[in-house]
């Protein structure tokens, strides 16, 4: 599937700056093709892996994994196991957690100033700004744990709670309530008349406040204005059926019941439900960009739902003091994480869109921001890519950039390549301007 390339002019402001681009009507028309659209999702797990057990070698059906990756055997032909990529700013940041998660998808530097929340726009949100206009929701950012309010090493846990950032200073709102996600997917704009009139009215309020306040305050209220306009746009678009010709999603209405209003008590259920909702969103074509955090960074979630495991993921199991018993449990959590990817891949594989599967048209990026979880290692990240990305990605390979030299193993190169494929071409992103060699195929 191809997308019209946009002129560089649109992107001269560069990554890391809020891109407030108008909704491009022309985009909608340009997308009328009979092929399913490309989708991107990033699923994140926290607290890294045990390096001694993390490995892969071989190709296709012959791929073999270290102990942590054992569950991946079931999907080895659908994945690319990537070793050696890193974010330079994460590696050099003194804060072992807070400096290394929020920038996983942007390669930006996390601000050390507690009074200035700042990192970088993540590439999924750059994609959302470009292609998000074609769907009811530009993107969705899901999670299982709420934003935590405390300070960690003097820095706000906001950095550990959000993997998607719409701008350097603002994370994408992460939704942890399955019911709310569901409602956003089925919202058709009807019954929002009162909302529209309230929003119109408070828009006027804001306009009358603006002239009377200071410049920096005006910027804050600009966020408020932007929010009003975003909601109004969404209300307007929710009712529109954009596709007049070409490919249509295989689902017009959800094929699962509305989840209960409350947070699911059992974390694996919660995680599974969120994965289902991402898949549903893709299948209904309500969005094509999604991120999902299975846990917040340094998660204290007790992983006792895995047989044989007991303890908090971060303090007990990751920082296990090398106790053999705890290391075994940590291994089980790594495997559990792999099982979530397997679940999602298989689910997407089972959904047919014409003669392709949903997985065929998607690119999933699965991984963690830390490598050696105990040592907060950021010299590389454990990453797995799944899906065929519309046919471009050759799966069933192991890519190892460990010895390629620091300049040639930047995660941002991967992101630039992915963005290219979605038709968003930037000169530079994060800490590099290079694309990732050998990403798409062995050739």
């Amino acid at each position: 599937m191809t997308m019209t390339n946009f002129s560089r002019r649109h992107f001269l402001r560069g990554a890391g700056v809020a891109l407030a681009l108008p909704w491009m009507e022309s985009l909608a028309k340009a997308a009328a093709s009979d092929q399913p659209p490309l989708r991107f999702a990033c699923v994140y797990f926290s607290n890294g892996i045990d390096p001694k057990r993390w490995s892969a070698k071989g190709e296709g059906a012959a791929m073999e994994f270290g102990e942590s990756g054992a569950p991946l055997t079931a999907i080895r032909e659908d994945i690319v196991f990537v070793k050696g990529l890193y974010n330079h700013q994460a590696f050099t940041n003194p804060s072992p957690h807070m400096g290394r998660m929020a920038n996983m998808l942007s390669g930006a530097r996390v601000s050390a100033d507690p009074s200035d929340i700042r990192v970088g726009t993540t590439f999924d949100q750059i994609l959302a700004k470009q292609i998000g206009a074609q769907t009811a929701l530009p993107s969705i950012a899901l999670g299982v744990e709420p934003n935590e309010l405390r300070l960690e090493d003097g820095l706000s846990m906001i950095y550990g709670s959000n993997i998607s950032w719409v701008s350097p200073t603002k994370p994408a709102t992460k939704e942890i309530y399955p019911a709310r996600v569901f409602d956003a997917l089925v919202d058709d704009g009807k019954g929002r008349r009162l909302d529209r009139s309230i929003l119109d009215a408070v828009l006027d309020d804001t306009h009358s406040i603006q002239p009377r306040i200071s410049g920096s305050d005006r910027k804050k209220l600009d966020e408020y204005l932007e929010s009003i306009r975003d909601i109004e746009k969404r209300i307007d678009r929710a009712g529109k059926e954009e596709r007049l010709e070409g490919w249509r999603p295989t689902l017009a209405k959800p094929n699962m019941p509305r989840p209960a209003d409350e947070i699911p008590q059992d974390p694996p259920d919660h995680m599974k439900l969120m994965m289902d909702l991402v898949v549903l969103a893709f299948q209904m074509d309500k969005t094509r960009i999604a991120t999902l955090m299975l846990n917040n960074d340094l998660s204290q979630m007790n992983f006792k739902f895995i047989p044989g495991v007991r303890g908090a993921l971060h303090l007990d199991l990751t920082h296990n003091g090398k106790s053999p018993e705890l290391q075994q449990m940590y291994l089980k959590t790594n495997q559990f994480h792999m099982q979530q990817l397997v679940y999602m891949v298989n689910k997407m594989k089972s959904i047919k869109e014409g003669d392709k599967t949903l997985l065929d048209s998607s690119l999933l990026l699965f991984g963690s921001n830390l490598y050696d979880g105990d040592a907060h290692g950021a010299n590389e990240m454990p990453l797995i890519i799944a899906g065929k990305a519309g046919g471009k990605l050759q799966t069933g390979r192991v890519l190892d950039y460990t010895d390629a030299g620091n300049d040639n193993r930047r995660a941002c190169s991967l992101y630039l390549s992915i963005m290219d494929h979605f038709g968003v071409t930037l000169d530079r992103f994060g800490d590099t301007d290079q694309r990732l060699p050998k990403l798409w195929s062995a050739a």
Partner: protein, 1085 residues
């Protein structure tokens, strides 16, 4: 000290920009920590000169800009502030769905710091939903706009009935009611009599100018009520028994008897007044409290009907008997006791009753007989005037024996059959009696009980009225509904007078001030409906019409004007909340078999009415009229409700509205009505719109228009004060002060602070300020303890622990304690679960609420709060490093940098320490010099807490049995041992602690980071010392220029200029008195 570049800061024109770095430089120079050992050292003079110069520059720069308000980025309400504002606006504690996920922390460590807040569409969506949710709780009716805990249509109805019940219960009284109704408010009689007495004797009491109103107010009563009582007891034209009551009032003790005596006498009078009607209808003790007798007390023309001759049937041991209270042969000899009281004092002759045809029917058991028409008791609920055709199951018939043959010799002699006392004709088998009657029955073999029947008739004196009650106990006690009745001659004048007298009493001094608006099952319903219990019409009334208004007495004689209005409004709302009158009319039409052709009450025409039978019309017309009144009242209220939304906006937006804004809100209402003509919906839409406005969500302050700081407006000051002390909107008193422009005056501000700090709302400082500062914010939701290892750390314990911390800081603020007690308090707050958890020996009375307790060993002050001790621990063990860091950062205000990424970590589970104590583990860590620099500062502070485990409990030894080590040494070898040692140490650092408190308060109250120009204020607060009270400190901050002024107009940010312009300010570098310390630069990097 990573990240300090001397080059950069010396290139700036002023020390102010990087003042914190300069302070650090001076500190490390002072402490000889820099230059590090091994690097070239300055001479002592050079060191002293550099330090003095830095301090001098800092002080000068601080003084120069002292009180600069500083730039404060506009803040959005935090999640806590939003919820409190909604609470204060609506009076309700609603779950708005606005939670901490939209907050972030910054500045001096608080969520009200604008720079780190952000807004995006998902937040706004939540605010939109929350606003609509709040608006759904608005009660839009005849009275002023309020909010009720139930939303929507149901809430509208519930709110009205709740208001009515509240008014009636608070202002009225009830002696008795049906089905479980308990008496209340009767002291209004006693107190009312006392007030009337006091007024009457005011001259003799030395209060000649006492008004009736004041006398009433002193008793907590309305003037109207006391006036009424006063009028009644002074009337000369009353009949019996009211005359009796009035006479008793006049016989109240003289003024010199003393207040206590008089009050006791008034209470006696109260008892007489309220129990007389009960006594007349033989309600006895069972009636008060409703146990057994669930019938309501009805005193009207019908229930007072008498016959000259009346048939009584009394079943011994049946219901309405004595002892057994139910079915079963009672104890004692088979006897009957008839209590007869002559109640008409005007009757002159002998009070004699002729008992005609008395018979006994012996029975073996208590079978049920055929249905019979109701006989006897006309005060039962199933006989509201004796509805035609009502029946009751009677007793199976048995052979009857004349009484004279059935009783003992002694009894027969006593009764004197056939003898007339007063000349009235007496049959041979009849007997006459003056007063009580009793006789003993001879039980035949095989019989267990009997029933007595007779026709009682008034004797010769036809004016007599008798109260007759049957019992099978000598003391006359009766349980449940007794066999009873009134006997009198309806034709006699005496009886008429008596009846009128009773009705007069009930109208002047009733047992109940009003009828229950929601009648119970067995309560009567209005005519013409059938009040028989459990018949379709009664049930239909109860389920569709539901409410009855009978409140004439309380309305006319007790409520003041304002309350009358509220009662009327509540009834209007209640009638309007569902189709009350339409249901009523439909019920009437069914009762009279009138066909309304499906018409709604609003559609009935004069012709429809004319076509009805007269009786039907008689009942319909008032309801139609009332319906029209209700509709008119609701319509008249509409514009008022729209105006109410403007008041609501002024409160929510924390300032008066402009004319434009008022027009805009009214237009919003009009537009909503055009789209959908539903008034309640439209008003709610306006309310929602008000709560989404940036004027509500943001705390907007206007900058100065000139290049100098200017005072804030009154309204901006009011908001600053209320958000500072209450994390919410100003209250009415603050708004009044703002409108009167009082808040421009610093002394007035101090006064308000004093008032506000004592207010219950100041509890919010405990969570929003202290909670965030000291790290126990939202502790009640914390999951930091591994409860599988510590199952005793239950939700209840955690919540109680949170309550302990919150109550402690609430106490400090509201009771205006000295600030030193933050650390040194010797009291804490416990409830039973928490006391048990801590192992506290002292007795705690309170099961749930937190109770103030003094002198609990090892408790008291922030350092010993369970919430803080737990929050600074790891899930399975204590963390002296975390706790030490907490003291350093939170109490002493100096942080340490984060550990290096490869610092390694201690295992969470202490079982994995390899047999070493935690102190020993950390010693190993400290042998590494890099680690030592920080740990020698952190550990001594953290180890002091070791006696408190990771859930805040005191322990003498570790889990492995080794004794707790709670001391550690600083770099200079001084040791801190235990909390006492730590407190001593902190005492030597009191200035630093006070400085931290001052910084935190300034940061929290202003919503910005502290800057150099705040130093004089901080110094002032520190100088006041630890004995300054909370209010003093809070008032000092509120009265400061920083707090009361708005910043100067924003100019472009000054650049760090290095170009050679003629008048440029010298850079710091150029002003330094010493040669640049190039050789030491490397060490300081």
């Amino acid at each position: 000290m990573a990240g300090v570049s001397l080059e950069a800061i010396t290139g700036q024109p002023s020390v102010a920009a990087s003042y914190q770095t300069w302070e650090k430089v001076a500190a490390v120079l002072e402490q000889h920590r820099m230059p590090p050992k091994g690097m070239p050292q300055p001479t002592d003079e050079q060191r002293a000169a550099a330090i003095a110069w830095i301090h001098g520059e800092l002080t000068a720069a601080a003084r120069k800009n002292e009180g600069d308000p500083g730039r404060i980025t506009v803040r959005r309400l935090t999640s806590g502030e939003y919820d409190y504002a909604i609470q204060d606006l609506t009076g309700l504690d609603l779950d708005t769905g606005i939670d901490a996920s939209s907050d972030s922390v910054g500045g001096e460590g608080f969520s009200n710091f604008g720079d780190v807040q952000f807004m995006q569409d998902a937040n706004l969506q939540r605010y939109l939903e929350a606003a609509k949710l709040v608006a759904a709780h608005a009660v839009v009716g005849a009275g002023p706009l309020t909010f009720y805990q139930d939303p929507g249509k149901t809430g509208f109805e519930m709110s009205a009935i709740a208001r009515l019940k509240d008014i009636y219960t608070k202002q009225g009284f009830r002696t008795v009611s049906g089905e479980g109704g308990f008496p209340y408010g009767l002291e209004k009689y006693g107190k009312g009599f006392y007030a009337a007495w006091r007024y009457q004797h005011r001259a003799a009491l030395g209060e000649p100018n006492l008004t009736l109103k004041d006398a009433a107010a002193k008793e907590g009563l309305t003037a109207r009520w006391v006036e009424h009582l006063s009028t009644v007891v002074n009337r000369k034209d009353l009949g019996y028994p009211s005359s009796d009551m009035a006479a008793r009032f006049q016989k109240l003790p003289a003024p010199n008897a003393g207040e206590k005596t008089v009050r006791e006498a008034c209470a006696e009078l109260q008892k007489t007044v309220t129990t007389w009607p009960l006594w007349l209808f033989a309600r006895g003790d069972a009636a008060v409290g409703g146990a057994g007798d669930e019938s309501p007390l009805i005193i009207n023309d019908t229930s007072l009907k008498v016959e000259g001759k009346r048939h009584f049937q009394f079943l011994r041991g049946g219901r309405g008997g004595g002892g057994g209270g139910g079915r079963g042969a009672p104890a004692g000899p088979p006897a009957v006791f008839i209590n007869v009281a002559a109640v008409n004092p005007t009757a002159k002759g002998k009070p004699v009753i002729v008992w005609h045809n008395p018979t006994i029917g012996f029975r073996a058991g208590f079978g049920r007989g055929p249905a019979q028409p109701i006989a006897g008791d006309q005060n039962a609920a199933d006989a509201n005037g004796g509805a035609a055709g009502a029946v009751r199951r009677g007793l199976p018939p048995v052979p009857r024996v004349p009484l004279r043959e059935a009783i003992t010799e002694a009894s027969a002699t006593k009764l004197a059959f056939g003898k007339s006392i007063d000349g009235a004709p007496v049959g041979a088998d009849d007997f006459e009696a003056e007063g009580n009657v009793s006789f003993e029955v001879k039980m035949p073999q095989g019989m267990t009980t009997f029933d007595f029947q007779a026709d009682a008739e008034i004797g010769a004196d036809r004016d007599q009225v008798f109260r007759v009650v049957f019992s099978d106990r000598a003391d006359g006690n009766v349980r449940g509904i007794p066999t009873r009745g009134l006997l009198g001659d309806p034709a006699s004048q005496g009886y008429q007078a008596f009846k009128n007298g009773v009705l007069e009493l009930v109208s002047l001094l009733p047992p109940n001030s009003n009828t229950e608006p929601t009648p119970a099952d067995k309560d009567p319903i209005p005519l013409p409906f059938d009040s028989t219990y459990n018949v379709p019409e009664h049930d239909e009334f109860d389920t569709t019409v539901k409410y009855i208004r009978e409140d004439k007495f309380i309305y006319d004689h007790m409520l003041d004007d304002a309350t009358r209005k509220r009662v009327d409004e509540a009834w209007t709302d209640l009638y309007a909340s569902f189709e009350y009158h339409d249901h009523y009319v439909k019920l009437l039409s069914a009762h009279y078999k009138v066909d309304l052709h499906g018409k709604h009450i609003s559609q009935l025409t004069a012709a429809d009415l004319a076509a009805m039978p007269a009786e039907a019309r008689h009942y319909m017309e008032p309801h139609i009229a009332e319906y029209k009144k209700v509709v008119a009242a609701q319509a008249a209220a509409r514009p008022k409700r729209v105006e109410d939304t403007l008041d609501f906006a002024a409160r929510a937006w924390r300032r008066p509205l402009t004319a434009q804004e008022k027009l805009g809100l009214r237009a919003f209402y009009d537009k909503s009505m055009t789209v959908e003509p539903d008034h309640q919906k439209a008003v709610r839409a306006v309310v929602a719109r008000i709560l989404v406005s940036p004027a509500f969500l943001y705390r907007v302050e206007q900058p100065s228009e000139v290049a100098a700081a200017k005072p804030l407006s009154s309204w901006e000051m009011a908001s600053r004060l209320s958000f500072f002390l209450w994390a919410s909107i100003p209250d009415d008193e603050l708004r009044r002060a703002a409108a009167a422009n009082e808040l421009a005056d610093a002394d007035q501000v101090r006064k308000q602070v004093k008032r506000m700090a004592a207010d219950p709302k100041a509890r919010r400082m405990a969570t929003e300020f202290f909670g965030q500062w000291l790290g126990f914010y939202h502790f009640d939701q914390s999951k930091g303890v591994d409860t599988s290892r510590f199952p005793e750390f239950t939700n209840e314990v955690r919540e109680s622990m949170y309550g302990e911390a919150v109550s402690f800081f609430e106490h400090l603020v509201r009771k205006d304690r000295p600030v030193r007690e933050i650390l040194t308090a010797n009291y804490t707050f416990l409830n039973q679960p928490l006391a048990k958890f801590y192992g506290v020996k002292q007795e705690i009375k309170s099961k749930n609420e937190m109770e103030y307790v003094e002198g609990v060993p090892n408790r008291g002050g922030a350092l010993r709060l369970g919430a803080i001790l737990t929050a600074t621990s790891a899930p399975l063990r204590t963390s002296p490093v975390k706790r030490g860091d907490w003291v350093l950062r939170r109490i002493l205000g100096s942080g340490t940098p984060p550990p290096p990424a490869d610092a390694g970590s201690l295992p969470n589970d202490p079982k994995l320490f390899g047999g070493l104590s935690i102190k020993q583990r950390l010693e190993v860590h400290k042998r590494n010099a890099t680690c030592a620099t920080c740990h020698l500062r952190i550990d001594p502070l953290g180890f002091a807490f070791e006696h408190y485990d990771n859930t805040g409990r005191w322990r003498e030894q570790y889990a492995d049995g080794k004794p707790v080590e709670d001391s550690a040494a600083f770099a200079d070898k001084t040791e801190v041992a235990g909390i006492d040692g730590l407190l001593k140490y902190l005492d030597t650092r009191q200035d630093q602690v006070l400085k931290t408190l001052a910084r935190k308060l300034i940061g929290y109250s202003l919503g910005r980071t502290v800057q150099l120009s705040d130093q004089p204020l901080i110094d002032k607060l520190v100088a006041e010392g630890g004995n300054a009270t909370m209010t003093q400190v809070l008032a000092e901050i509120a009265a400061s220029k920083q707090f009361r002024y708005r910043p100067a107009r924003e100019t472009a940010a000054p650049s760090v200029a290095t170009t050679d312009t003629p008048n440029r300010a010298a850079t710091v570098k150029e002003r330094l008195p010493l040669a640049p310390m190039n050789s030491q630069k490397a060490g300081l990097r």
